[in-house]
């Protein structure tokens, strides 16, 4: 219980720190919101007027508290360019990005865990080297390139087996569920392959450590075959660690899919953030950065709590606060 309280406290403190950091960062950078909004060659009076309208002439502390108060209401301000609410924009974009990374993670799990097990079980020099090569090459492919190769293979109209759409998201959004889902298949595959190679490495090293620690031999001396021991004992023992890794991978994928979203012209969070940075839409960038950072912190919190709940060995150890592995 003490651990949970302490972890929650750390979460709140980190969230506050992030909000200050994001707020300060975009104030310190040259060219404030008003100057950008007014344009390059506008007269100083116009900029000053805009500044007053936006409340930028007030003390920074007041501005910060104002921003925080709005945050609590879920109001991230309005985009300078489109005038639309930033929180609404984030919501629409997240409805594409989250299904995409969930699908990608599924692909990665389906590829990574069995291959990781197989790599642990592999006997013989050649087989081991082959598995190692697969994991290294899989992790070395640029996301841009894997996406392109998949388009060349399966892209509708261009691919060798052109069956799947390779560009854009249906205008109706999730109103057309079949089209929406099929437009996510190729992007999810291309990110899943790369993430899967990473998961394969984690699975292998986690299982390898367990095998070295004697659990697997113990199970085998009780009559299990090596394969059974790795699958039933090893995987279960590695579970808490794997849950952590999968959780953190999920968080990382939000920024990891930026390139893929761009390549496949999906209007997700990544594409949106890149566009807003390009347009110097500071209000939108500030809101989006805060949302993303808060999300990373939240996943970190959940992962730590889940790890703790899943692994009774941690509670037994004294103190047990070294969880952020």
């Amino acid at each position: 219980m003490r651990f949970v309280l302490r972890r929650l406290l750390l979460f709140v403190v980190a969230l506050l720190a992030i909000s200050v950091a994001v707020f300060a960062m975009l104030r310190v950078l040259p060219g404030d919101v008003a100057a950008v909004m007014a344009g390059v060659n506008s007269p100083p009076e116009r900029v000053a007027q805009l500044r007053a309208e936006l409340g930028l002439d007030r003390p920074l502390a007041v501005q910060y508290l104002d921003w925080c108060a709005n945050l609590l209401h879920g109001d991230l301000g309005a985009s300078m360019l489109t005038g639309r609410s930033v929180s609404e924009q984030v919501g629409v974009r997240a409805s594409i990005t989250f299904p995409l990374i969930t699908l990608g993670l599924l692909v990665a799990l389906v590829i990574g865990i069995p291959l990781g097990c197989a790599a642990t079980l592999a006997r013989g020099h050649r087989a081991r080297a082959a598995y190692r090569l697969v994991s290294i090459v899989g992790g070395a492919i640029p996301a841009l390139w894997s996406g392109m190769l998949l388009i060349l293979l399966f892209g509708r109209g261009v691919g060798l087996i052109g069956v799947l759409p390779s560009q854009g998201f249906p205008a109706a959004g999730w109103g057309a569920p079949v089209q929406a889902l099929t437009s996510l298949v190729l992007p999810a595959l291309s990110v899943g392959i790369i993430v899967g190679a990473g998961l394969m490495r984690y699975t292998r090293s986690a299982l390898g450590e367990l095998a070295a620690s004697g659990y697997i031999e113990m199970a085998m001396s009780c009559g299990m075959t090596r394969t059974q021991a790795v699958r039933q004992v090893g995987l279960r023992l590695a579970m808490p660690q794997m849950v952590s890794v999968v959780g953190l991978t999920f968080a990382e994928m939000i920024t990891g899919v930026m390139v893929i979203e761009n390549l496949f012209a999906l209007p997700g969070l990544g594409t949106g953030l890149v566009t807003d940075v390009g347009n110097r839409d500071l209000i939108a960038v500030q809101g989006e950065l805060f949302m993303l950072a808060a999300f990373f912190l939240l996943i970190g919190l959940l992962v730590d709590l889940a790890h703790r709940a899943l692994d009774p060995r941690l509670k037994a150890s004294i103190g047990g606060n070294e969880v952020s592995a």
Partner: protein, 301 residues
């Protein structure tokens, strides 16, 4: 100095002995050589564009064909290798410096500083490098500095976290204690006793980071916040051709292939280096150490 050269020669020789070490050595050697050559010579001048001969197939004149401006793809890839090499070297240097700084803080004898730095590293490490790069790009625009700072920062934090257990072990050892009681300064202890202990871990982690930096370069350049357009780089070659993938698939294949091979080589290099500098897995090193009498500096295992 002489001992250091002998040590490096022994390590390189044992790396060369295995296929897993020879491949990265060959690729990295070629990479460095091509980078230097490209400064003086490329098959075609970089900026020669030719509106009549765009998207050519490979030929004797254009070894890998031409791109959408009629520029020679092979020449641009050659010139790109020097930009990528520069980015990799700078990123690794920044990461190493930052990593050492954080490690020094984390194993410091001032408990408050040590505790605070652990929390800070843990908090900062969850910020993705892409986000840092995007924030930096708001004032700086697309530049190599954005890649180097963002990646160097992120990889430095990673390095600190990976090297911390080993550094802590060394900091609590008897030889550090005796050095301190003899009046050695903190900096002396750190560089004389702690750094040699974490060097193997550092080298492996840094060579993995170097591979990630190449991938980051291609991604960030594609997103428009990396290498500015007009500067040759592998990511630039990949990004400028990718839009036309459906029309000219053959041109798009090469930059991706180059990046993949380079990253694989850097990853394998890290693994081979780890095996070669570990006296436990490399008997040759023990023999060499026995012959030249390794100095008693605390990292002889």
């Amino acid at each position: 100095m002489k001992a250091a050269i002998g040590y490096a020669a022994t390590v390189l020789r044992s790396m060369w002995r295995h296929a897993g070490g020879r491949f990265p050595l060959v690729v990295l050697g070629l990479w460095a050589a091509i980078s230097v050559v490209s400064l003086f010579w490329t098959p075609q001048p970089l900026m020669r564009t030719d509106g009549y001969h765009t998207w050519q197939s490979p030929s004797a004149e254009h070894w890998l064909g031409t791109d959408g401006t009629g520029a020679d793809v092979f020449s641009w890839l050659m010139a790109g290798s020097r930009t990528d090499l520069l980015i990799v070297i700078l990123t690794v240097l920044v990461a190493a410096a930052l990593g050492l700084l954080f490690v020094a803080a984390m194993v410091s004898r001032h408990t408050a500083l040590a505790g605070a730095s652990v929390v800070v590293v843990d908090a900062l490490i969850s910020i993705p490098t892409v986000l840092i790069a995007l924030v930096l790009a708001v004032p700086m625009g697309a530049s190599i500095a954005v890649i180097v700072i963002a990646c160097g920062f992120g990889y430095g934090l990673n390095l600190a976290r990976v090297a911390r257990p080993q550094a802590l072990l060394a900091a609590q050892s008897d030889y550090v204690e005796s050095a301190v009681s003899n009046g050695a300064s903190g900096a002396y202890v750190f560089f004389r006793h702690i750094v040699p202990n974490i060097l193997p871990v550092m080298l492996v982690q840094l060579s993995l980071s170097a591979g990630t930096a190449v991938l980051a370069e291609s991604g960030l350049t594609y997103l428009g916040v990396g290498v500015p357009s007009g500067t040759p780089s592998w990511g630039h070659s990949l990004a400028t051709t990718v839009r036309f993938i459906t029309v000219y698939p053959l041109t798009v294949l090469w930059p991706g292939l180059v990046v993949t091979v380079a990253v694989v080589a850097l990853n394998l290099f890290g693994d081979a280096l780890r095996d070669a500098i570990d006296p436990v897995t490399n008997p040759e090193l023990r023999r060499a150490a026995g012959a030249t009498r390794m100095e008693e500096d605390g990292h002889g295992r």
